[in-house]
Amino acid sequence: MPSPESTFFVDTSFHISYCFERERHEEARSLIRAIRNRFSNPTFVTTNLIFTETLNLIQTRDWIAKQLRWSTARQVGKDIITYNVIGIITAEMFRLAWELFERQEQKHRSWSFVDCTSFVYIREIRKKQYGQDRLTIKNALAFDSDFDEAGREFGFQVFRE
């Protein structure tokens, strides 16, 4: 199992920023540089829902020419599969995420459902029941304020330089 300090959860916002010049690319690149300086063998983890969300976002962006959307999504998808552990959101995680999503109103916040699945995944995947796929994730790479809000409750922090 990789060390918790060198295991990074990667959100859609970061994947998109790292890939595209027009997004917060320089910031994303600089964070990766900092990680590479600090750890010799970092592990990047994302989920099947983040994978889906990222590719869907690319295929629906107005600023990408229609005829290039599929090939761009494919290129990014191939990179994500090659370089990240893609965690699977199980039925139980899905159920817990839905409960969390439904409780948003009483907590006066509006996290997206995919974010809810990510937070539940980070908390649940530490448990013994996940056997060899068990991971302890202490850091997240995200440019989404929901991650800042959720960090304390779900036991991770957004990685900063």
Binding site: H15, Y18, E21, H25, D79, I81
Partner: protein, 54 residues
């Protein structure tokens, strides 16, 4: 009645860069000395420029 027999050429299967476990899809460690280090979440060395996709 004649039976038409077609011989299909098997296309070699592309080498996968990942393996599948119960709860994850995991990159296969390969490369020099078998020590592939995924040092960044995306291999793209430079960002995709607006001019390439507009």
């Amino acid at each position: 009645m004649t039976t038409r027999v077609t011989t299909s050429k098997k296309r070699p299967r592309a080498r996968r860069s990942y393996r599948v476990t119960k709860y994850a899809i995991i990159p296969i460690k390969s490369g020099r000395n078998g020590a592939y280090i995924p040092s960044k979440p995306i291999k793209t060395l430079r960002p995709i420029l607006d001019s390439e996709i507009a």
